[in-house]
């Protein structure tokens, strides 16, 4: 016997998925949180801090997902995404902009081919709509120029034990993505237990996710260090089993550079160098970028910076 799955998942019926997912090792919440807390005590200074800040900037999916989003707002955000610090062109661009499906065209026009355009889809954030609507949502966004799709897993299906519905949905969305990369949002704040997060991670990866993502940012708690650690352990084990590297995106609630650097430490000590790239790790954030810029300016100039020295858009 072994601790982790070794054979391919062939039986994707509900019974098959349940046996597979419920056979994964359990998670001790106290132990997981203690490990995350110890990793959070790492003290990252000087040149490693500067490197971490630039890396974090390059991993940001700069996001606006509000009812009141307009083309003007999206264009402003895209400009900032390309040149975050107008006073310093050594500052890296972010990885992507992340918008609602109907603003993809605007975003793609604004950024050209320089950075990724990620669209949320499948009735984000709740995921409560018919399969046809979800497929259409995705197809349209891809057609409009999104090269990344952030979908939401069906939490209702998952929590009622209908694993095959959740699985089939992800597989179907992956198919209509074409060349676009698929991120599957687990909405860990609604899954509640770490055991559920582990199971949902494996379900999403087996169903074809290129990235697993913590949260929509619309539910509290969103990303936390322990939950992200758990998801990184899952992608690590998935690579051991299949040879494939799946990315992780921590989204929502990450506000400060200190937070972001802690996440990078967790990535570093769980899955190592290979994941320290925007191809495999992202931050879903909006206000985080400005704090990263303020810290970058502080390291560059030697004194604390202030809100007047970073742009609001």
């Amino acid at each position: 016997m072994s601790l982790l799955p070794t054979r391919p998942l062939t039986d994707t019926s509900n019974a098959g998925l349940k046996a597979y997912l419920h056979g994964l090792p359990g998670v001790d919440a106290v132990g997981l949180e203690a490990r995350a807390a110890t990793l959070a005590t790492r003290s990252i200074k000087n040149e490693s801090k500067a490197w971490a800040i630039d890396t974090a900037i390059s991993m940001v999916d700069l996001t606006t997902l509000e009812g009141m989003d307009t083309p003007g707002k999206v264009k402003a955000m895209c400009a900032k995404a390309l040149h975050p610090d107008p006073t310093d062109n050594t500052c890296p661009s972010v990885a992507a902009v992340c918008v609602y499906g109907d603003l993809v065209t605007t975003a793609r026009e604004a950024v050209g081919d320089r950075i990724h355009v990620a669209a949320v889809a499948t009735a984000f954030p709740s995921g409560r709509a018919s399969m046809d609507v979800k497929l259409m949502d995705t197809k349209q966004a891809v057609a409009d120029g999104a090269d990344e799709i952030d979908m939401v897993i069906d939490r209702g299906a998952f929590l009622s034990g209908n694993y095959s519905k959740a699985y089939d949905e992800i597989a179907a969305i992956k198919e209509v993505c074409g060349d676009a990369h698929l991120k599957v949002i687990l909405e860990t704040g609604e899954l509640k237990t770490y055991d559920n997060v582990r199971r949902a991670s494996w379900l999403a990866m087996e169903a074809g996710a290129d990235f697993i993502k913590t949260s929509t940012g619309k539910v509290t708690p969103a990303a936390t260090l322990p939950v992200t650690l758990l998801m990184l352990e899952a992608v690590r084990d998935f690579e051991t089993k299949t040879g494939t590297k799946i990315g992780v995106k921590a989204a929502g609630g990450i506000k400060t550079s200190k937070d972001a650097i802690r996440y990078l430490v967790v990535v570093n000590e769980t899955v190592g160098d290979a994941w320290l790239t925007p191809d495999l790790f992202r931050f879903g954030a909006s206000s985080l970028l400005n704090d990263l810029l303020l810290q970058r300016q502080r390291m560059r100039d030697g004194h604390y910076s202030g809100p007047d020295y970073v742009t609001i858009d």
Partner: protein, 481 residues
Amino acid sequence: MTFEYAPAPESRSVVDIDSSYGLFINGEFVEPASNTFLKTINPATEEVLSEVAEAGKADVDAAVQAARKAYNKTWSKMAGKDRAKYIFRIARLIQERSRELAVLETLDNGKPIRESRDVDIPLVAAHFFYHAGWADKLEFAGYGPDPKSLGVAAQVIPWNFPLLMLAWKIAPALACGNTVVLKPAETTPLTALAFADICQQADLPPGVVNIITGAGETGRMLVEHPDVNKVAFTGSTEVGKAIQRAVAGTDKKLTLELGGKAANIVFDDAPVDQAIEGIVNGIYFNQGHVCCAGSRLLLQESIAEEVIDALKRRLGTLRLGDPLDKNTDIGAINSRMQLNKIEELTKSGEDEGAERWSPNCPIPDKGFWFPPTVFTNVTQAHRIAREEIFGPVLSVLTFRTPEEAVEKANNTPFGLSTGIWTDKGSRILWMANKVRSGIVWANTFNRFDPTSPFGGYKESGFGREGGVQGLGAYLHVEDPS
């Protein structure tokens, strides 16, 4: 892209170490009558930190007399609520000076600053805080309506958790109304001397706490002193036995907290990632200088290979180096002598046929260091499975069934602690019932709390420290006869 961590040293400037220290007797630092001194070094650099007095016979006498006088005239007459307030003051002062104490502990002992800062010193404060609150409530502790103190306590502590071991000894003694003479370990006297300063800041009545530095001989004279009512010792089993022999036939009450060779038992349904952390914490925390260290890993045979692979992968992220660097996980071995012992036993492991492995670990030039080490294919008969190494060396054995795990875990003269990793609650309780150790940790390891009694079965010692049970060591609990 590699994420290197730049050096992140904690500053030494918060600490002020004198070039020389006398003995703390009767509320003051005095020159030793013996006129001899010992040097104490930083084991990470071999730099001399200071010199401390080596108490001789006259010094030990003076200390015990001071403790006796303070007991008779002041401390035994003081109301519990007043004793409580002195101990609360000490707890607060430790919190206030926690950074200084953490740095000092790391310099003198070699343990990583993260551990002194996040584990040792907070527990020290908590011990004084907890016991302060018992001083005026002893009638509720289950020892009768008016339990009496013993008198003067002689306390000898080891070098692995210097200030914490001091707290475990002094806090309950004082709370129960006794006065103390404490001898810190020869290689780690400095935080005890800082504690003496804290006693002065707290305006603790002179003679209630006396700190006499010295080596084995000083300790022997102290525990054998005729005017001592209670002896408390934490250290090696060998010395514990010598003390028990020396105290036999006297009226002195004795508690011993000695060595261990704990089994850390991992079942096939363990929460595996947390179990790996528990294994690592169990043997590599504090460089393995822990009496309750999980030094024998008992893996269920069906998952042994996988767990060992995962463990080796995890060991690759441990950082060994400058104890004052906030990112260091593994610090220095406390002394040349201890390093020799570890090397000798590790070599025996190889000679006896076990397989040795360590991650790639750059070792600094100066100082005493030993990389985290794992031995696989170990059996019960190997020396490394029976003898306490007291270093970062893990011996891995296997078992097939829960009964076999229990048998192997109990098959040792020691009995301090056991770790159990399984997702099944009833099995945790079944195992906890059957293992013969004073502490059982389930799905965790190396957890300490002042409310939780600590102590061993069999040759790991007798008596408990902490909790309600721990108070009994410092009170008259026998029936009047």
